[in-house]
């Protein structure tokens, strides 16, 4: 056995140039894929820094020849009429109120995240730590919620929100995600189950009740996981398109960025659309997620890998 493996190892060493070339090629492919992941963002930024007229004159060079901040100015609502006309090359162009939509997105995502994470943590505590009749059955029932595609509950929920009189309003936007999602409860329960019980037992002996334990023992220990869940919830809420589209199809005072940007696209003419403006809006809509990514990217990678191992 040892002689054969030595012989084989010798053969392997002979092929090492080939193996090294293989590794080089693999690195090349990997870096190319990394480049393809980033390039569209760069390209959108490059387009946003270019006037429409210059785009149509063959704006496919990698660097913008005559960069301008005009598109960013007008999408942020800071440009004069004359400047807008210069940037778009036409008298009337569709507009996109970025600041208002950004405000709405922040309001919606923040309310959803705070409510969902806190109330789901309460439920997760009950499922992980308390004993009551029918606990496992109820938890299983919650989990079946994961199997139902969102479009199935979309229509009944829309009717319910309409009956509440919450169409075109923030309460209507956040209601379905404010008190829980099955995923959030499931996610936190997993972590709560793993927390050592000895701390709680000590607290019980000191006379603490469950609400105190939840606040003073569990929440502080589980803070990292709650932050991870909060980031995931914030991203999901920020990216949501279908629900806000049906709840507030026309009212731009409550529409989040996704819906406002979609409406901006639909207003574009079939010929010579305002690509510079669209890409500026796209870059600005991507920006908050980019910032979140820079702050929490590593945490997100870890949490996804965790779910991959499970």
């Amino acid at each position: 056995m040892s002689t054969t493996s030595a012989g084989m190892a010798g053969a392997g060493a002979g092929g090492s140039i080939g193996a090294r070339m293989g590794r080089g090629a693999a690195w090349g492919i990997l870096l190319a894929i990394v480049a393809i992941s980033i390039f569209p963002f760069y390209w959108a930024l490059r387009t946003g820094l270019t006037r429409n007229v210059d785009l149509f004159g063959g704006g496919q060079q990698l660097l913008p020849g005559d960069a301008t901040g005009l598109n960013f100015k007008r999408v942020l609502g800071l440009a004069s009429d004359a400047e807008i006309q210069e940037a778009t090359g036409r008298e009337n162009s569709a507009s996109f109120n970025y600041v208002l939509a950004l405000r709405n997105s922040i309001i919606i995502a923040t309310i959803v995240t705070v409510g969902q994470v806190f109330f789901s943590a309460m439920a997760a505590y009950a499922f992980a730590r308390l004993e009551f009749k029918g606990r496992d059955k109820l938890f299983f029932l919650y989990l079946t919620g994961l199997m139902i595609p969102p479009i199935f509950t979309l229509i009944p929920n829309l009717i319910l929100i309409k009956n509440f009189g919450w169409l075109n309003s923030f309460p209507g936007m956040v209601a379905p995600y404010f008190l829980m999602t099955p995923f959030a409860v499931f996610f936190l329960r997993q972590f709560f189950l793993g927390i050592n019980r000895s701390l709680e037992e000590a607290a019980i002996i000191d006379g603490a009740n469950h609400f105190t334990i939840f606040r003073k023992v569990i929440l502080p220990i589980a803070t990292p996981q709650m932050v991870t869940l909060a980031v995931l919830t914030y991203v999901t809420s920020w990216n949501e398109f279908l629900w806000p589209l049906v709840v507030a199809p026309t009212d731009e005072n409550v529409q989040p960025l996704t819906v406002a940007l979609g409406a901006f696209t639909q207003q574009q003419p079939g010929t010579s659309p305002d690509w510079s403006g669209l890409m500026t809006g796209t870059v600005l809509a991507a920006l908050p997620m980019l910032l979140l990514f820079m702050a929490f990217g590593r945490r997100l990678v870890d949490s996804i890998q965790f779910s991959g191992i499970k």
Binding site: P40, L160, G281
Partner: protein, 316 residues
């Protein structure tokens, strides 16, 4: 329960248990949310499919199986189901192969968190942003992809450009599948990469000792051992892929186009449900299509779970 202080001598288990009087308060918010927005709507969704509900104040008459009878003879339904299937095949096929490649390369080459983070970036973006980025990249007049294809020495291998991906009946679904592949490949690769970490390195070392090439190790070690995680990933991604909507709505609905166009070539099942509910105001019929979709998705999941079990016992 308030008895905590008086039962110091009793077992800790009773103290910790709480029972319904305590659990009730912890569960109350989530129970309200679950009941109002998940449980009752699910039941109501089934009920709606037997009515002719609309949003204009019609409370909906019970019409029995009428919606399902219409559905059985609705060519548009079959058409959009086939469109969806074609999309799922293209999207899952390309995305899974690429993700496996990336995961294996990362596993064998680098543990860099930076690379993994960058690959995850497209997944974080709103679908609307993704749709717009690629709508511009793939534009028929000034899109950089067309410029790139022009530049490649292909000699018109794929026909003459420029390609108008979103105006071409045959290209719109492949284009949308490619866009979503761009968005989800990094995420899928991370899930698979995590699964690969459970394979002991000693197996590869033994393989290298025996003079196996990277390709042989991939075929004989990696592929069999990652089958369980692959099955799990496929359940997640296929069910998600069936539900494509946002990108179709935005990418085909802009610039005077019709969502689902051209000529309904990209009218996937989610869009068909959406159109029936919102545009045609036929909530009952939309609910009936949703019921069928749920049944299909449950079937897909159950089938894959069986395959998953068949793939167990790989890593003893």
């Amino acid at each position: 329960m308030t008895a905590a202080t008086t039962t110091k001598q009793a077992s800790n288990k009773t103290n910790l248990s709480g029972g319904w009087p305590v659990a009730f308060w912890f569960l109350l918010p989530s129970l309200i949310g679950f009941t109002l927005f998940f449980f009752v709507p699910t039941l109501r969704g089934f009920y709606l499919s037997f009515t002719d509900w609309n949003l204009l104040g019609n409370e909906g008459e019970f019409i029995g199986l009428e919606n399902y009878r219409t559905l059985a003879g609705d060519d548009n339904f079959y058409d959009s189901m086939l469109t969806t299937l074609w999309y799922v095949v293209l999207n899952i096929g390309s995305q899974t192969i690429l993700a496996i490649m990336i995961a294996v390369m990362m596993d064998r080459l680098t543990k860099s968190t930076t690379i993994r983070s960058i690959l995850l970036l497209p997944w974080l973006m709103p679908n609307v942003v993704v749709a717009l980025l690629w709508l511009w990249m793939l534009d028929g007049n000034f899109g950089v992809v067309n410029a790139f294809i022009d530049w490649l020495p292909l000699g018109g291998l794929f026909g003459d450009g420029p390609f108008r991906f979103f105006q071409d009946v045959g290209k719109v679904i492949p284009a949308i599948a490619a866009i979503n592949t761009w968005k989800f490949t990094g995420y899928t690769a991370l899930l698979i990469f995590a699964g690969l970490q459970t394979i002991p390195k000693s197996v590869y070392e033994a393989g290298a000792m025996d003079g196996a090439t990277e390709l042989q190790m991939f075929r004989n070690i990696t592929l069999p051992l990652m089958r369980p995680v692959l099955a799990l990933v496929l359940v997640l991604t296929i069910v998600g892929s069936f539900q494509v909507f946002d990108i179709v709505q935005v990418a085909t609905g802009g610039f005077g186009g019709q969502p689902g166009g051209p000529v309904n070539a990209s009218r996937v099942i989610y869009l068909y449900i959406f159109q029936n509910a919102i545009n045609f105001n036929d909530l009952g019929y939309a609910a009936a299509i949703s019921v069928v979709l749920v049944i299909i998705l449950l079937g897909v999941t159950a089938l894959q779970m069986r395959l998953l079990r068949a793939g167990e016992s790989d890593l003893a």
